[in-house]
Symmetry: C2
Subunit: 342 residues, 2 copies
């Protein structure tokens, strides 16, 4: 019988517990949460079989320890279990930033070869064990970060754990991980928070909220991230997040200039059409290194690229815009001529 | 038998057609689309019963004419039908910006009392008649804009049409409409386009796209708006969109400063927690003028506001942050003291 201890039984911890109990035999899943109510809900949902009241008690006799708490709480949990965890235990975590977590693990578990970092790239709007779902990680990427000190046994155990969740493994070092996730996850979350808080603070909010449709709700959905989790991400990945926020600000400034500039209509239309096309390709599953075909096509010139689209809408529109801008030039020239020949 | 002519049989036009045929008896729905294939798909889906090959032919004997095309195409359609439309016909549109459309209608249909503007606040990622859905407008807001010249009959007809779609009526003037929708719809769409195109252009895109989860896909979903529609919105509501883009840039800049500033952790946490709470309230249906209770509560001081949340998470976290920042101050003071007393 293998004992798995889940420390932190919120959405992620409880979803792992449900899936483990669904797919593995001979496993006993126990849990601890800082908030006893949260552990009790996880137990009632069947995500854990037994609740412990301290992290030490939960981790003491465990073969596998999973730290599924907000990042800054992971540091505390590492301190708590350091004195009691078995030298043969495998320890992993689910924190959304990794440089700090890997550093804490090395500092707080010196000489232990069982720690391997982890980050499941999945979530949903609701948090807490009531929202737990054994299929939460199905098809999602799960980044695994083995430090040089990790034993083969530890790496194999964490790899098996990830596969039993239905997730897709991805190996990365912590620096890479934090840089990439800042771009694709942490900065977008901050941008969602900025967008929602700005609109909410507007005097027109009663009207704006009444008019808000699915697009706005989707764009601001990451505002619903568990505040502790969101804050801890910001606090442990400041540099990369600020870098990407500033790049986003620059991109928006450039777009604002294009929208303001009537003379740049063709450029604006090209950008909108190319982005729509590439987004559709991304949603169709062209991700990772598989999107070379799409890349090759996106570098095609205007007309060819437009013709590629069904119906030739893009080409038609570009032709109309060209005609309109030629009309404007002609009108301006005519006005000019009339002014000169009174 | 009432004849309704839908000019533009894409997602919106075909969804209107499907719903009309589902809910009203004694109605004949005919259609025209600039792209004959698009009209044929709408006909095959049952959204229209008859295809006409020119807007004039479709509008000539119609009692109601619905212009469901990208905004700049609405101007062309108004020109096309001006000479043939019955003086008793009711004409409406579904364009996403309204100042220009209302101006064109006044200019191009002088003396006609049948025009009433409209804007259904609904959509989805896919476009074209294949994605049409008679329930698309169920529960959505539909802004109706009667110009002073509109007859009672025209206003009543458009009102009935909107109600038969299952949508909720909202009356507004065109200036108000364009200012509000720039904030809640057009600017967010531009921000989604900026976010996706920036990430797509990054050299790390193969890694970023592999790591992208639901949050990123949702935040960039508006990149999939029909390019003609997106461009026409930008071209006819430039001023308001640029205004809100610039406000968004300022908000992001302020957030970037807060993330960078370790000393401002409590402020950052308060912002994140308050935004999460207000977003949850918004998603729970507190919109429009009904959200006074939520407003009153959000102005409560830190501790009270935190206690209001189940589990006291916010209070706990704020206390921990306060303790940490007091520790930092103490350490700094101690260092200072040690420096002075050698």
């Amino acid at each position: 019988m293998t004992r798995v201890a889940i420390l932190g039984t919120g959405l992620i911890g409880a979803s792992i517990g449900l899936r483990l109990r669904q797919t593995l035999k001979d496993v006993e899943v126990v849990g601890y949460d800082r908030y006893p109510d949260v552990a009790r809900v996880a137990e009632r949902r069947g995500a854990i079989q037994r609740v412990f009241h301290t992290p030490e008690d939960a981790a003491k006799d465990a073969d596998v320890v999973i730290l599924a708490a907000p990042i800054l709480a992971i540091r505390e949990l590492l301190k708590d279990i350091a004195g009691v965890v078995s030298p043969d235990a495998v320890i992993t975590d689910t924190g959304s930033t990794k440089v700090e977590v890997m550093r804490w693990a090395a500092e707080l578990l010196p000489g232990h070869h069982g720690f391997v970092g982890g980050h499941p790239m999945a979530g949903k709007t609701e948090f807490g064990p009531a929202a737990a779902d054994p299929a939460l990680f199905e098809g999602a990427r799960w980044v695994v970060l083995p430090p040089p000190t990790a034993s083969e046994h530890a790496v194999a155990t964490v790899t098996n754990l990830v596969e039993s969740m239905g997730a897709r493994l991805m190996f990365m070092d912590a620096e890479e991980h934090d840089a990439y996730t800042a771009a694709i996850s942490h900065m977008p979350m901050m941008a969602a928070i900025a967008l929602f808080s700005m609109e909410r603070a507007s005097e027109a909010w009663p009207e704006l909220s009444a008019l808000a449709a699915g697009g706005f709700r989707d764009m601001t959905r990451l505002s619903a991230t568990d505040p502790s989790m969101a804050f801890d991400i910001a606090a442990t990945n400041r540099g990369h997040i600020v870098h990407w926020l500033n790049r986003y600000i620059e991109t928006l400034r450039e777009l604002s200039r294009r929208v303001a500039d009537e003379a740049g209509e063709e450029d604006l239309y090209r950008l909108i059409a190319a982005t729509e096309w590439e987004y559709t390709s991304f949603r169709a599953g062209n991700v990772g290194r598989t999107e070379n075909v799409s890349k090759a096509m996106s570098s095609m010139d205007g007309a060819g690229f437009g013709d590629f689209l069904a119906g030739g809408w893009v080409t038609d529109k570009l032709e109309a815009l060209t005609r309109e801008s030629e009309d404007r030039v002609r009108q301006r020239e005519e006005t000019e001529r009339n002014r000169r020949t009174p």
